[in-house]
């Protein structure tokens, strides 16, 4: 059954030939770039938060009891 399906609609025909592969690959690349940007942004914000917390922890430790 799969053979018949693929033979009637070979990907080369309806997927590559029709140009849909470009659209699907484009969407996949955009998602990948978006994920990369989100991770970079998340990382830098976490780093800033971490530095601020370290500062507050140091201040708390240096405060006279």
């Amino acid at each position: 059954m799969n053979h018949l399906f693929f033979q009637i609609n070979p990907l080369e025909g309806f997927f590559f030939g029709s140009g849909k592969a470009m659209v699907v690959a484009g969407v996949a690349i955009i998602i990948l770039i978006g994920l990369g940007l989100w991770l970079f942004r998340m990382e830098s914000r976490l780093q800033r938060l971490n530095d601020a917390l370290d500062q507050r922890l140091n201040d708390a430790q240096n405060q006279p009891s």
């Binding site: 070979p10 990948l32 990369g36 991770l39 917390l53 370290d54 922890l57």
Partner: protein, 350 residues
């Protein structure tokens, strides 16, 4: 700068892999060789033969149709079949004009063509209506061999067909999960040896969380692949069941952590659990499936995508895919680890 460049490198590798997945065509192959049940007439010969239909996949039989040769093979015995008609690029009709006495019922079908090269359909035809005499010997015909003139393409694999592209997604997901669970295993061992510092416990938790994400993606991509090649979303197979149990065992690790309030007790107990979870992963995914019957490639005597059938075109995409997904997984683990570390510091401040 170095920290940023390896992350960009990982993304670039995955971008390359995605482009290759969507743009590299599949090579040609043979799908079916079946009797049409009708009699036909061979050109230049005044006799009737049974007509067989040969179906190809991605073939180019309308180009130089007179140079297409269809041959049956059993061991070293060859029999050339006359061509009746080329219907289109993937369908031809040939005449079955073998004598009544043949050396075997089961024959491979070989096709040679200047564009596609030599294509093989193993055990492609089973001759029911012939007398078998294994001693029968024929004079082998001269077969012209053509080197394939095709652009860069993925190899044609029976049953797998176009879904071979999933190799660049499914297998690297599991490799990335193994890497992350390995990091978690080492962190748990170090946590048990340094009970006063909880940093290793945070590492173990973060890597299991991201590893579970890749495990779930591995299950989803595997289930999709199974649907198209085996006809079912899930089959009762030791490899598939082992993968599911492994993911559930690691989900149990997170559940265990959530039930213990004392952070030192939680770190110790979950570290011990994690050691056993990694051993279970090795047994269920790498050992047991090799000792039992399995549909899954690479298990139970079933060849995997290795030197047997992982050809150079697949290697050119598969290895970067493994590296790229592992780099992305490691990056996500680092981000998660940083977030967990901040959570821990916030709790200290409260």
């Amino acid at each position: 700068m170095i920290q940023r460049s390896w992350k960009i490198g990982g993304l670039a590798l995955l971008g390359y892999v995605l482009c290759m997945i969507f743009f590299v065509p599949l090579g040609p192959g043979l799908l079916e060789f079946t009797s049409t049940g009708s009699a036909g007439h061979v050109q230049d010969q005044d006799r009737k033969v049974t007509v067989y239909a040969l179906t190809g996949f991605g073939t180019h039989w309308t180009e130089s149709p007179d140079q297409l040769t269809v041959v049956l093979r059993h061991g070293t015995q060859l029999a050339s079949l006359p061509l009746i008609e080329t219907l289109d690029a993937t369908h031809v009709l040939v005449g079955m004009d073998l004598p009544y006495t043949v050396p075997s019922k089961s024959w491979d079908v070989l096709v040679t063509h200047p564009v596609d090269g030599t294509l093989l359909l193993e055990n492609g035809v089973f001759l029911q209506d012939r007398f078998i005499d294994e001693q029968t010997k024929w004079a082998n015909p001269e077969i012209a061999e053509y080197p394939a003139e095709l652009p860069f393409h993925f190899p044609y694999q029976p049953q797998i067909l176009e879904t071979i592209r999933n190799l660049m997604l499914h297998v690297p997901m599991w490799f990335t999960m193994f890497l992350l669970m390995g990091i978690s295993f080492v962190a748990s061992i170090r946590q048990l040896s340094t009970a006063h510092d909880l940093h290793q416990d945070t590492k173990a938790e973060a890597s299991v969380q991201i590893g579970l994400l890749f495990g779930a993606l591995g299950l989803v991509t595997g289930s999709l692949w199974a649907r198209y090649t085996w006809g079912a979303w899930w089959v009762d197979d030791p490899q598939l069941n082992g993968a599911l149990v492994t993911v559930l065992v690691y989900a149990g690790y997170l559940v265990l952590r959530a039930t213990i309030q004392n952070i030192r007790l939680r770190a110790r107990l979950s570290s011990v659990y994690n050691l056993f979870a990694f051993v279970i992963l090795i047994i269920l995914l790498m050992v047991l499936p090799r000792f039992s019957e399995s549909l899954h490639p690479g298990k139970g005597g079933n060849p995997g995508f290795n030197s047997y059938d992982l050809d150079s075109s697949l290697r050119a995409v598969f290895y970067p895919a493994v590296l790229g997904w592992m780099m992305l997984g490691t990056w996500m683990y680092h981000v998660r680890l940083k977030a967990s570390s901040i959570e821990r510091k916030l709790r200290q401040l409260q």
